[in-house]
Assembly symmetry: C2
Homo-oligomer: 415 residues x 2
């Protein structure tokens, strides 16, 4: 048996205990984790220093180094986040649609934990804590496989969580970190069909597609977002300019940021200069179609077919002038990744058609795509944003970390 198989079985065993753990027991473990993170700040920072030193050696980019870095404030924020999860309503044990059937059996559908959740993620060490406590709150054991850049930090955080969980009376194997950070360990997890109920990969398009190609365990795809804002001809142009500026520039690296602006040809001449004035504040590069170039001039880079498929994750925006609603919807359904799509319009029928015909996890009228987030949507906290249609779509909160079982009360019925 390999180390990962052993770890899978240990997680599965822990999951059987968590399956029937009460809300108080789970919350006690979460509060113990929060306290332990604060009390072991020095140990966490020492481990993080090792990762930061290696990052420096390896010439890691400043933006990535910032994501990797922990400090006292960030550790306190992590602990506060754990307490917030503890305060959420327990998603387990609700029984829905209980009814008596003609046969006389009484049947309802009860929410129960999924079992063992594996999460493969990249550099940010706070994901280690966020993901673990969300899984735990929903009664699941979790196998964490973080990136090698954050290994020392992740390991310190995991060990602290395990000790706290154990002290609170739940199995320490409820949370565990894969010690091997090579590609082989990813592949080993993809084959753990006996132990892993769901795998959630969080990372770039390369990781996601590798997982989809090779996973034998059930997967929830997350995070790839090629989002659009379409400015329809009846739009309030100031509102539209604000929305595209916010959707592109408030945080270009995240998956709910906009990558392409579609503009109705009827208002392109009036709207594009207005939008450009705002986007210029962040030196946003525009990659436009011929009509866009004709209206905005030489600073616009010609857009390629490839650009319309690209999640830039940067101050770059593709722009296309379209003939109307029909073309906008067709463009989005062709090039989009089914994440978040917005129309800006004052036309009732256009808004309804957009909501109905766009095939995406979140479809907006007159608001920025940046709202696609578990907190903003009222789900409490989120473990990722699903871009697939099975099981969960859009931001995944605690409810998406559960499944159901039918419970049936009989009095001797046979069929």
């Amino acid at each position: 048996m390999t180390d990962i198989e052993r770890q899978g079985l240990a997680a599965k065993k822990a999951a059987t205990v968590l399956m029937t753990a009460g809300t108080q027991a789970k919350n006690a473990a979460l509060f113990a984790i929060a306290q332990a993170l604060e009390e072991n700040e020095a140990q966490i920072l020492a481990a993080n220093d090792k990762d930061m030193a290696l990052a420096k050696e390896n010439g890691m980019k400043p933006a990535l180094k910032d994501r990797l870095r922990l400090d006292a404030q960030r550790i306190r924020a992590m602990a506060d986040g754990v307490r917030e999860v503890a305060a959420l309503r327990d998603p387990i044990g609700r029984v829905e649609n209980m009814e008596t059937r003609p046969s006389g059996i009484v049947i309802g559908r009860k929410t129960v934990p999924l079992g063992v959740i594996a999460i493969i993620y990249e550099a940010r060490p706070n994901v280690t804590v966020d993901a673990a406590v969300l899984c735990l709150k929903a009664g699941n054991a979790v196998i964490l496989r973080g990136g090698k850049e954050a290994f020392h930090s992740n390991n310190a955080l995991t060990n602290i969580m395990r000790a706290a969980i154990c002290e609170a009376g739940l199995p320490e194997d409820s949370v565990s970190l894969v010690q091997d950070t090579t590609r082989e360990s990813v592949n080993a997890i993809l084959s753990l069909t006996d132990c892993v109920d769901v795998l959630i990969p969080r990372g770039g398009a390369g990781l996601i597609s590798h997982v989809i190609e090779n996973a034998k365990v059930p997967v929830i795809q997350t995070g790839v977002g090629n989002c659009h804002v379409y400015v329809e001809k009846s739009a309030d142009l100031d509102m539209a300019a604000n929305i595209i500026y916010n959707a592109k520039c408030s945080r270009p690296s995240v998956c709910n940021a906009a990558e392409t602006l579609l503009v109705d040809e009827g208002i392109a001449a009036a709207f594009l200069p207005k939008a450009k004035a705002l986007l210029d504040q962040k030196n946003t590069q525009l990659r436009g179609c011929d009509k866009t170039k004709a209206l905005l001039g030489e600073s616009v880079v010609p857009a390629t077919e490839e650009d319309y498929y690209t999640e830039f994750g940067d101050y770059i925006l593709a722009v296309k002038v379209v003939s109307g609603l029909e073309e906008a919807i067709a463009h989005i359904n062709k090039y989009g990744t089914g994440h978040s799509e917005a129309i800006v319009t004052e036309n009732y029928s256009a808004s309804q058609r957009f909501l109905s015909e766009i095939d995406a996890a979140a479809v907006y009228v007159n608001a920025s795509t940046r709202f696609t987030d578990g907190g903003e949507f009222g789900l409490g906290a989120e473990i990722g944003i699903s871009t697939q249609k099975m099981h969960a779509r859009g931001p995944m909160g605690l409810e998406q970390l559960t499944t159901t079982k039918f419970i049936i009360y009989g009095s001797g019925q046979v069929r």
Copy 2:
């Protein structure tokens, strides 16, 4: 491009039309299908005759031949089934939990079709119609890949459905049958990640495990059922005997039939002869542990470890005497397939522990496992019984053929 890729793209195109098709349009197509099935009885029977002739040539077993055979009555039953699906409530377009968030955006979760559903199934031709109309009612396009034994029947049924759908004004590619019945076509479907949103394999353990090993598209596992009945020491023994007799013998070939009887040692001597008397009516072979043999004598075949893992699908029942609730739960969670599990008991705490600690799609107190069925559970009709935890668990009705999208009404909000 291969034939199957072409078929996948055609289905995807049809799915975009179905996505916004109204209830009346979908129901009109279903009624047209029902009528066309009845009007084309002769054509269906002629095609079925070809399959039956081949079945005879190939020496197909009588039970399988009976499943393959169509007659006027079965065709009428199919048509009636279609009309029943038409009468069900449309699962699409419900908006749940619509609320205004602190940011001012108004957000709700709307049920929408999954898109394209592929179904791989074995010999029974009625699945062709049942599966197609359930998918259609929920606004999905469906790619059917039936077994080669029923090819002529399936093809005739599919062509009749396609013509009827087209006549009713929806795309004929909403339903299509894979023409290649070799293993290669199964593998081709498993890789159709651009077109297939969900694959549902319906068949034996061999098909299911091949699909899980090799699928790149999302899969819902169905149908493998190693179900148990546990007779706890406080059980009403007559009720328990009736339940195990029904669970084993009413239809041994189906997935919700019981395969193992677990008996508390305190009542084994009183209960086992009672159960045997009923099971003997169908000449049920018992494969028992040593204690069972000691109580029931020589007719009991010694049970192997393998027997406890086996879905016999026949008049064969594994039997084990257990020390109590704890051992029964551990046995079921180890050997079961997470399908349907029953306890017979008059003890309140035992019933609650069983409901809570058994990890299965359907958990029963004092009723036969045979009730696990979409119709019996009140889901209207079913497309299969999921034994996985993601997306759907247990009988899958129309609701399990949908996904959701968040719809957001704003008034210029940015974040």
